[in-house]
Symmetry: C3
Subunit: 134 residues, 3 copies
């Protein structure tokens, strides 16, 4: 019998398709790709924090953290972050924000891969995470 559970922070907007914001199974917690959407408001469409990379990045990292925590984990359990940016010119600013956010939150930083892809209009960054628990 499976011990798989969906992890859904109360603040999160509904996914646009049949997927979970997070899934925990066995010793693994997988966080789906998070973007910089502000906390869900009933009757309103998802809207990213703005106006710039700073706000979206910090909101995206907060959204990843919310899924980790809802799943009973934290940054210390995260082994991998996948960072999707849309513009190589954002790398330095993103890294500064990322370092600032994680500085006091983790002692052994996760591994990371950063690549440049297309994202839906208005989104500048997407991040997913793999955590190993216990």
């Amino acid at each position: 019998m499976s011990d798989k559970v969906a992890v859904t922070p109360a603040t999160h907007t509904a996914p646009p398709a049949r997927f979970s914001h997070g899934v925990r199974k066995g010793g693994v917690l997988q966080v789906a790709g998070q973007v910089g959407f502000l906390p869900a408001q009933e009757g309103r469409k998802p809207e990213p924090a703005g106006p710039g990379l700073r706000e979206q990045t910090l909101q995206t990292l907060a959204n990843v953290q919310a899924v980790l925590e809802e799943g009973g984990a934290g940054w210390e359990d995260a082994v991998m972050l996948r960072v999707y940016l849309t513009d190589t010119a954002h790398f330095a600013e993103f890294n500064a924000l990322y370092d600032e956010f994680l500085a006091e939150r983790v002692t052994v930083p996760p591994a990371r891969t950063t690549v440049y892809v297309g994202l839906p209009a208005g989104l500048l960054v997407e991040i997913d995470a793999l955590a190993v628990l216990g």
Copy 2:
């Protein structure tokens, strides 16, 4: 001693390089990036289902499922799907097909990340999956 095994559905075309369609090791089943190739036919080159996004998407999902099942798993074991599309304009149609496909196949949907990348000519979608067994 390692318990690593390659997972290779009989219907699948040979990979274009030294990689496995699926690998099972420990409690993990990793499905390689699947595209919408029709079942292999001896002496013929791999050919995607067509002509459109609908056929490729459903074939790609079927190919992912074939690897999951060959590896002794199913959608209920899948914790993560990575979806690679080539055009943001395909998002809504892809999601409708994806939801239709998974509707009766899974109760706890996997997490998912969707990004827009380049793929070889003729391919519109690629999907890989991580499953945790037991």
Copy 3:
């Protein structure tokens, strides 16, 4: 208490942000996105092997291997490689180099996903890896 450890080969250049080249936790070893940087030299900026795809690919694979080995693993433990190229025209040459590199190094090849993305100027390939130990 967490058994998470950062894995940092002595030859590797310092990451440009707060992430680890590799992380081991539980039975998982995650290798961060590796590029074709030559071994670190004190006081010099990271520099990719050159001038072409061949040198970068072989150096990238060597860098992945260095993290696997520093983490107590090897290619036989690798269940997944994610390959990021920048040009679909590189696929055939990349695969030839990849096959040549892995031919005598692994009996059960990992799964693999290959997509085409943007990378920082000068970089033609990036690869990360997931290994399961024990």
